[in-house]
Amino acid sequence: MIVVNLDVMLAKRKMSSLELCEKIGLTQANVSILKTGKAKAIRFSTLESICSVLDCQPGDILEFVED
């Protein structure tokens, strides 16, 4: 399964979810869906915005873990 490590990256960058929402133009509800792992897919454009704001690679946010 794919695990979203957005919380970890936010903590590393000392950034709040609200700040991320404002910077990438997503709603808090959508960021919450991402953080809780309920998301079924992520758009390249969203991933690009998150990587750009958090100054990281997609692999830092998404991780493959064996079930």
Partner: protein, 151 residues
């Protein structure tokens, strides 16, 4: 001007009208059965046919009322701008099963009263169409859910 809301209100009104008609006919059917024969058959058949027709009508009316009430609930969800939900898929399934059951009851009744065969054919066909619509709706709900969870 005609719009989507008005169309829904017309559907709701028709549903209430049909519900009232089903109940009214259920109450009055035993008294007007002879007139019904004269209207469609031109003659009064044996008394045993009374039992066949009423015996078919009452269970069919019960399933008809269930389908009608389910339709009303479905319309109220559509009115609240929530047409593609799991509840509506379930509602279509219930209505489809009601149609199949009515089809089966009238098919059995058609052995004694042949015109029922046409009612059975229509009910089974509508049941089949609704089943296909239910499958389409189910796919739409899954697609919507996936779209909602795509960030």
């Amino acid at each position: 001007m005609w719009n989507r809301k008005k169309s829904i209100y017309v559907s709701i009104a028709v549903c209430w009208f049909i519900l009232a008609a089903l109940i009214l006919i259920a109450i009055l059917a035993p008294f007007f059965l002879k007139d019904f024969y004269m209207l469609f058959g031109g003659r009064i058949p044996s008394d045993h046919l009374d039992y066949v027709i009423l015996g078919c009508y009452y269970p069919c009316a019960a399933f008809g009322i269930l389908a009608d009430v389910t339709l009303l609930k479905m319309l109220s969800r559509i009115e609240k701008d929530n047409p593609f939900c799991k509840e509506n898929v379930e509602a279509l399934r219930v209505i489809s099963v009601c149609c199949f059951t009515v089809g089966l009851i009238t098919f059995l009744g058609s052995f004694s009263y042949r015109p029922f065969f046409f009612v059975a054919s229509a009910a089974l066909f509508v049941g089949l169409i609704l089943r296909v619509v239910k499958n389409v709706m189910q796919t739409a709900v899954e697609m919507r859910e996936e779209n909602d969870l795509t960030i």
